[in-house]
Amino acid sequence: MERKGVRKKKPIGKLVLMGVVSAALYVTLLMKQDIIIDYFGRGGLYAFLPIAAAFIFSFFHGSFTGSFWTVLGVEARKKKEVK
């Protein structure tokens, strides 16, 4: 007896991996505050540092938070796009 529509697998592996990386980034940020503030606050060409950091954090933490809600079962309503 086959069930119609296979239940999607929850991205637990991705959640854990992204969670670990995200946590590592935040721990580094807080433990190395002094050095980071020193370089990131220098201005001029060092402006790329906070911008790059923002992209990196958003990639890993964004992935983690996305998987977080999916694993919890909080997902978009399954219907065609509403215009």
């Binding site: 503030i37 060092y46 911008i51 954090f57 958003s58 964004g62 215009k83």
Partner: protein, 364 residues
């Protein structure tokens, strides 16, 4: 703003309480932004200042959290087919110009009238824009709900139909959200005004989203989603500008981002569970409530400038506290509506799915 400031004095000592507070405010702000396309920013800047962060660092750090948040939010909403990337980029380009001009005006006012003058200017802008636009948006939302046409396709305004009918050869661009060609000469002032407002009150979306809906004719779901693209462009440009002056406290930006990335994804999911008019309702509600919050501060600044009789210290404290509390309330109400919609929607869907399964088992 162009003076190079000492780094050490810019960056506060972080405590666990500060970090938790910023995380939570970030979460709620992100939730609202994911839903209506904007709105967390106006709480975050004063929120940071209330824990001792200098004003410019607050604005700069807020910007540096805004663009990655907007990026993730727009990617999420793009999955639901709600983002008009082209429109977002076209408006974003002129919004960037608006931000630079708006910042320039802010600086001139600050030079001429000091902090009190600058604060008064910002508050008046809040009251005018939120008062006029917020009322329009809220009235429209309530009308849609009353008329019982909540599920019907949103009507395009007469103004938008006129804008869509204008044909200026060589400037016409097709936008999928409008499903029509519109002249970029029409989009330039809208984007510019959005940028100017963003530079003034930190939330450009309160003009951007209504402009896309009522002047260009985009549906509310797509307007609020596309606003995230504009926010990304403005935020990226603004962050660079501030980072070049060493004003970004990356710790604050990333801690707020930690919370807001949870929130913005949830807010985006929430849009798939609501009727389109809810976007307008939440936006209009927040705008009108924040209007009162800012309105309370106007007498304070008038008193500081000597335009009215000096207010007592006690009175000023009451006004400031009430103003801040009302602002938080606005965000919490917005967040509450979104969370309620998600909760109800998911429960309903689970019920439908289990009913389906029972019926299918019954067929065998």
């Amino acid at each position: 703003m162009h003076d190079v400031v000492t780094q050490v004095s810019n960056f506060i000592d972080l405590t666990w309480m500060n970090m938790t507070y910023l995380f939570l405010v970030g979460f709620v702000g992100g939730l609202v932004s994911g839903f209506i396309g904007s709105g967390g920013a106006f709480v975050l800047t004063p929120g940071m200042m209330s824990i001792g962060v200098p004003a410019l660092v607050s604005v700069a750090s807020n910007m540096c959290h805004k663009f990655p948040k907007a990026l993730i939010g727009s990617l999420k909403r793009a999955k639901y087919g709600q983002v008009d990337v082209k429109l977002g980029l076209v408006l974003g380009a002129s919004a960037e110009a608006g931000v630079l001009y708006g910042a320039h005006i802010q600086e001139s006012i600050k030079k001429a009238f000091g902090d009190a003058g600058s604060n008064l200017y910002v508050s008046v802008a809040f009251v005018l824009v939120l008062g006029i636009v917020g009322t329009i948006v809220l009235r429209d939302a309530l009308k849609s709900n009353k008329s019982g046409n909540a599920y019907e396709k949103e009507k395009v305004t007469k103004l938008a139909r006129w804008v869509q009918s204008i044909n200026i050869p060589g400037t016409m661009v097709y936008f999928k959200s409008i499903n029509a060609k519109v002249s970029v000469l029409m989009t330039i002032p809208l984007g510019f005004a959005t940028g100017m407002l963003a530079a003034t009150i930190a939330v450009g979306g309160f003009l951007g989203v209504p402009a896309m809906m009522y002047v260009l004719g985009a549906p509310s779901l797509m307007a609020s989603a596309t606003e995230l693209v504009i926010a990304f462009v403005m935020g990226l440009g603004g962050s660079f500008k501030y980072a070049m002056h060493g004003l970004v406290d990356i710790r604050l930006s990333m801690i707020i981002l930690a919370g807001s990335l949870f929130g913005i994804q949830l807010g985006a999911i929430g849009t798939t569970y609501v009727k389109p008019f809810m976007i307008k309702l939440v936006m209009g509600l927040i705008m009108v409530i924040v209007l009162f919050s800012r309105g309370l501060m106007v007498p304070v600044y008038l008193s500081q400038l000597g335009v009215i009789q000096t207010l007592g210290e006690g009175t000023v404290k009451i006004l400031k506290t009430t103003s801040f509390a009302i602002m938080i309330l606005a965000l919490l109400i917005g967040a509450g509506v979104v969370l309620n919609a998600i909760w109800k929607g998911i429960r309903e869907e689970k019920l439908q799915n289990s009913t389906k399964e029972v019926l299918e088992h019954g067929k065998i």
